[in-house]
């Protein structure tokens, strides 16, 4: 690895070089996340937020191909990379005036209707503003890589710690599973068959009752598609760090714990010098362990656990439990945050250049929804989890869930039970019931109730960053009598952008529960339509076409 020559490429015409296998966003982030993107409606400055290829914070154009994620794209020598959707540049964008002129947003639902003579003109202007990138203009068309068809008895989605445990347990029973993982490879695992940089995007409900009846569709770099047929699927897709609502919550420098790790790499410096870490649990503790030197404060919506307190005390980092993030100040990057302790405490300002969101990890449950597994709500942490039997069997025969996505820490002993069950496939498939249903309220639920009651002051609170939907718009939809997440989604277009609602729907659900006076499950599911990540038309066109599998 170390001996490979560096990659040389250009970004907006300027020459750059970076080590191989370093994603572009990391290569570009020095002391701050790079400002690569302007938001879709108001042209607000945006920088990498999630770091894991799901949000709209880092889209660039690579060799004529738009909407490439800089946080996961590893540049190759000769690449021509440009920023898009900003004029003249993503740093100084004249269209950013829209953000200033419309402090309360633009009402595209009711506006632009009159005078009627002018409507076609509105259409022309608004249309020009839509979209992130321009039509692809790739060079000489390379022949599309053919799709690949793979047959395995068992597929494990996610080669993290828990996924590998299941793989090892299956190995011990003489079954070699295929593990798929969207990340770059970590340490070599000769005993396991792992395909890295492979994102499972689509898991339709199984067809038939026997044989290799699951068909997974996955994407790989270079836009090639993979179809895997399997008898059993184990979803061990883990979790992700979510967003938080506050004015200025989309400012460059507000980023998830996932994003911080992605921009720092395994051993590098973080993309900030003074950060507040949001969260009082395990994830916040991990952030302190790794980036403690650059952390100026730990702020938690609720209580702060002893593991965090101990670390913070060692580092001399002040703690703010039960505290509201009232605003992030700054424009092209965060300059400070305004905090206020809950229960109507006075607000105070802390100068920082980053806000690291480590307060809540939710399951990557999209594939379970797609496959039709029965899901139930857990108020802590505020997400949907599969209904499981003790062996990890979901309500869909042949489909298992394990680890974070299953709502457990994933004890090794459970991996062995699960593997045994996959192998023996004994007895009738159970009818699992909702696992633990806590009666405790969600910590963030009370938080948002207070947050909504507070005067918010200036600055937009972005409820959906991909589509630039404001919190006010969600409140208005609710006030106008549009109820339920499904309807509010369609009314405001929240959740219909590139991240497919992964970062906005969990908060929207909690908000609507408050606004509608119902429980989150009554407000709806946080589910998305397939695919989980965008899959190119070129890859889909090459999807293998297996003959129908005869029953085994």
């Amino acid at each position: 690895m170390d001996t490979a020559p560096p990659r040389e490429y250009t970004v907006n015409g300027a020459g750059l070089r970076s080590a191989p296998a370093v994603p572009l966003a990391r290569a570009l982030s020095r002391r701050h996340p790079p400002l690569l993107q302007r938001s879709i409606r108001y042209h607000r400055p945006r920088a990498p937020f999630c770091g894991v290829g799901f949000c709209t914070g880092c889209l660039v154009r690579v060799n004529g191909i738009p909407n490439v994620r800089a946080c996961t794209y590893e540049p190759r020598s000769g690449d021509r990379i440009r920023t898009e959707n900003a004029w003249p540049s993503s740093r100084f964008d004249l269209l950013g005036l829209l953000d200033v002129i419309f402090p309360h947003g633009i009402d595209t639902l009711h506006g632009f209707r009159r005078p009627r003579m002018v409507v076609p003109w509105y259409h022309r202007v608004v249309r020009q503003l839509a979209g992130y990138g321009k039509l692809p203009t790739p060079g000489p068309a390379a022949t599309p890589p053919p799709g690949e068809l793979v047959d395995r008895p068992v597929v494990i989605v996610g080669a993290g710690r828990t996924g590998r445990w299941v793989g090892e347990q299956l190995n011990a029973r003489g079954v070699r599973a295929l593990l798929l993982d969207r990340r770059a490879p970590t340490q070599p695992e000769p005993a396991l068959e792992i395909r890295s940089r492979t994102t499972v995007a689509f898991l339709p409900p199984p067809a038939g009752t026997t044989g290799r009846r699951f068909r997974l569709v996955a994407t790989q770099p270079g836009s090639s598609a993979l179809m895997v047929r399997a008898e059993s699927v184990v979803v061990a897709s883990g979790g992700y760090d979510t967003s938080l609502l506050f004015p200025g919550n989309d400012r460059p420098g507000v980023l998830t714990a996932d994003g911080t790790l992605a921009l720092s790499g395994d051993h590098g410096a973080p993309p900030f010098t003074h950060a507040v870490v949001v969260g009082g649990g395990q994830r916040a503790a991990a952030m302190l362990d790794r980036f403690g030197e650059a952390v100026d404060a730990v702020v938690a919506p609720g209580a702060i656990e002893p593991q965090v307190t101990a670390r913070a005390t060692n580092l001399g980092v002040p703690l703010y439990p039960r505290t509201i993030i009232a605003r992030a100040n700054g424009h092209r990057r965060v300059r400070s945050v305004l905090l206020a302790s809950r229960g109507r405490g006075a607000s105070f300002e802390v100068p920082v250049d980053a806000v690291v969101l480590a307060h809540r990890r939710l399951p990557n449950n999209q594939l379970l929804f797609q496959a039709g597994a029965r899901m139930s709500w857990r108020s802590i942490p505020g997400g949907y989890y599969p209904e499981l039997d003790p062996a990890g069997r979901t309500s869909v025969p042949g489909l298992f869930a394990y680890g974070t996505v299953a709502g457990g820490a994933g004890a090794p002993a459970d991996a062995s039970t699960l593997a045994e069950c996959v192998v023996t496939n004994a007895g009738p498939w159970p009818d699992p019931s909702p696992s633990i249903v806590e009666e405790m309220p969600n910590e963030l639920d009370g938080y948002y109730r207070e947050f909504l009651d507070r005067p918010r002051g200036r600055g937009k609170t972005i409820a959906c960053a991909c589509e630039d939907v404001l919190l006010e718009e969600v409140e208005e939809a609710s006030r106008a009598g549009f109820r339920g997440i499904e309807v509010v989604k369609r009314y405001t277009s929240l959740g219909t952008g590139l991240c497919q609602g992964r970062y906005c729907l969990p908060d929207a659900l909690l908000l609507l529960a408050i606004l509608e006076g119902r429980t989150p499950p009554e407000v709806g599911y946080i589910r998305q339509r397939p695919p989980v990540v965008p899959v190119t038309l070129g890859a889909l066109a090459e999807l293998p076409e297996p003959a129908p599998e005869s029953a085994a």
Binding site: P66, L135, P204, P205, E486, L537
Partner: protein, 388 residues
């Protein structure tokens, strides 16, 4: 919450899709309340929230051209009338033909459309490429284009009519299922729901893909068949494509929305009926992607963002069913709209409302009446241009 406020309504409409809501709107405008609209799902959960937003006036049947022309005028006024911006953009519909037979069909349609005073054009391959330069000319024998056709956003249209209905005193109850129809002396006297019975003299079957199911609950068998159609949206791009494009051979259609997404579909045979739900299939993704990459090669690198499906409510002759069912006085059909119910809704529902009120309509019974399927006779007229 999901309980009607009264025990008795002049009309109960089953289905709060665009057809049910617009019918309620016309009835209330005529002063014919009280009206109850009920839907077992959420607002826009049916086809009205799952379609491609295409609006065209190019049809084989003259009567449909007229309805469509009227609907286009209504959608142009929609913002002013309903307070919601539906982004109705008249970028035209461009039909692509690949064979002589396709071109013969397009010529036939073109004659009908032109004779109705619309500026429809037949195009040679070069003319097609002039309108949509990104298309790969291979396999294109010619096309047909009408610049005043277009696309709209279905959701704000639903919101706008929904609010207008409520403003006019209509009641919309969501999350409530209609279980059946009560009759007395051979006519409708009430509707049974999950919240008990409601007395009414008129029931409108605006249940979309579930119209046959609801008709059966009223003891009526109808030839309507639900067919599942899949559709998808891509990542948004800066605008490059003005018209909706429809290819005759495989039914591929797509347009670029105001948001920049390419929204499109393709007809695949699926088993009929609503039992299988509304899943997405890898077969559809593959078939659509192949067709698209062949026709617009630059889009090979464009990501598919989300896919979904919905039900067409198909009839044997491809024409909708509008009017009182002769077998059950008081039971008014407003269904069978196939893949085109949204674009025609402002016009068709005006006729539905008239039927409810017992007024005559200008619709030819041989083309639109519920009774037409049972009149014996030779070959009957049908609408052949079912795509897009």
């Amino acid at each position: 919450m999901n309980v009607p406020s009264r025990r008795e309504y002049r009309t109960v409409i089953v289905g709060a899709g665009i057809v049910g809501l617009f019918t309620a709107y016309h009835l209330l405008r005529a002063g014919a309340g009280p009206v109850l609209v009920l839907d077992r799902g959420f607002l826009s959960s049916g086809a009205s929230g799952r379609n491609g937003g295409g609006v065209r006036q190019q049809w084989e049947t003259r009567a449909t051209v007229r309805l469509a022309r009227e609907a286009v005028a209504a959608y142009r006024r929609f913002g002013a009338d309903f307070g919601y911006n539906i982004w109705f953009r008249q970028g035209g519909y461009l039909f692509l033909g690949g064979t002589d037979a396709d071109m013969a069909r397009l010529r036939k349609v073109n004659e009908v459309v032109r004779s109705e005073g619309l500026d429809a054009r037949l195009l040679d391959p070069a003319g097609v490429i002039r309108i949509a330069p990104e298309l790969n000319p291979t396999g294109i024998a010619g096309g047909a284009f009408l610049p005043t056709d277009g696309t709209l956003y279905p959701f704000p249209a639903v919101w706008g009519v929904y609010e207008a209905v409520r403003r006019l005193g209509g009641e919309v109850v969501l999350g409530l299922e209609a279980r059946g129809v009560r009759t007395d002396a051979g006519r409708v006297v009430g509707v049974t729901t999950d919240a008990g019975e409601v007395t009414t003299g008129h029931v409108v079957n605006a249940a979309g893909g579930w119209s046959a199911e609801f008709a059966a609950r009223a003891g009526l068998s109808v030839p309507n068949v639900a067919s599942r159609h899949e559709i998808l949206a891509t990542e948004p791009l800066k605008p490059f494509l003005d018209p909706m494009i429809v290819r005759l051979g495989d039914g591929l259609y797509f347009s670029q929305t105001m948001r920049g997404e390419i929204v499109g579909g393709l007809s695949l045979p699926h088993p009929p009926g609503t039992e299988g739900g509304m899943p997405t299939s890898p077969e559809f993704l593959r078939a659509f992607a192949r067709a698209m990459v062949g026709l617009v090669p630059a889009l090979r690198h464009l990501g598919v963002l989300r896919a979904w499906s919905g039900f067409y409510d198909d009839t044997p002759d491809g024409l909708p069913v509008i009017g009182e069912d002769p077998r059950l006085p008081g039971f008014v059909q407003a269904n069978g709209f196939g893949g085109h119910g949204f674009m025609l809704a402002p016009a068709t529902t005006l006729r539905v409302a008239r039927s409810v009120l017992g007024e005559p309509t200008d619709l030819d019974p041989a083309l639109f009446s519920p009774g037409r399927f049972r009149t014996p006779g030779g070959p009957r007229p049908a609408e052949g241009l079912q795509l897009g």
